[in-house]
């Protein structure tokens, strides 16, 4: 069974640009989560989508947004990039709201560098 996949693996952008990161969940999983892993800050929760709807949002500005498609894949968009957005962006999936005791399975991440 294929795991969570993310693309691209690495990305270099300049301040002010926009970026789109992509995530494909494990087959059968309906929930997708996005996290930011910045150096020394651990994993910070960004967004949670399930069945195409945004279920929860972390403490990030509105220039961080996303969506989930009918096939449950997801995009994370970041507008007006700032230097501090440089981080590893992790996507995770789980079977969704049907089971409250669901563990999350993580993808390899997208390393974003903002210059």
């Amino acid at each position: 069974e294929a795991g969570v996949t993310q693309s691209p693996t690495h990305l270099i952008k300049t301040r002010g640009q926009q970026v789109t990161l992509r995530c494909s969940p494990i087959s059968g999983h309906t929930s997708v989560y996005w996290y930011q892993q910045a150096l020394g800050l651990g994993l910070q929760f960004l967004l949670w989508y399930d069945e195409g709807e945004e279920r929860n949002r972390g403490n990030f500005p509105p220039r961080f947004s996303g969506r989930q498609f009918p096939n449950y894949s997801s995009e994370l968009n970041v507008n007006a990039l700032e230097l501090e957005d440089s981080a590893l962006y992790l996507c995770a999936s789980s079977p969704g709201l049907a089971g409250a005791n669901n563990e999350q399975f993580f993808g390899p991440g997208t390393r974003l560098t903002v210059l």
């Binding site: 989560y33 996290y35 020394g40 800050l41 651990g42 994993l43 910070q44 929760f45 949670w48 929860n56 972390g58 992790l90 995770a92 409250a100 005791n101 563990e103 999350q104 399975f105 993580f106 993808g107 390899p108 991440g109």
Partner: protein, 112 residues
């Protein structure tokens, strides 16, 4: 606000030493508890989890964790570490119908 504290930011051990990594959380309700590990160059993977029942949980690679509800703690232990245990370890807490909250991580270095 809900939070997870990992007291040890960087731990250095010799092989065969015993390991205990602390994790405390602040949330009064029912939670699910997790330890994830991130080996160098690899993605985050689940080490062990607690949902209910026996508070002593066994995970992969000889790791275990004990949930002590009165102390809001979920410390990770291993009696004898190996060089291959060098990694970053993250404690995470999930209130039943809410998001997963991670600690800031503990970097473990094991020297032969």
């Amino acid at each position: 606000a809900q939070s997870v504290s990992q007291h040890n930011h960087h731990v250095i051990l010799s092989e065969a030493a015993s390991l205990e990594l602390g994790c405390n959380y602040s949330y009064g309700g029912t939670v699910n508890l997790f330890w994830y590990v991130q080996y160098p160059g690899q993605h985050l993977q689940l080490l062990l989890k607690y949902f209910s029942g026996d508070p002593l949980v066994k995970g992969i690679k000889g790791f275990e964790a004990e949930f002590i509800k009165s102390k809001f703690s979920f410390n990770l232990r291993k009696p004898s570490v190996q060089w291959s245990d060098t990694a970053e370890y993250f404690c995470a807490v999930k209130p039943r119908t809410d998001k997963l909250i991670f600690g800031t991580g503990t970097r473990l270095q094991v020297f032969p």
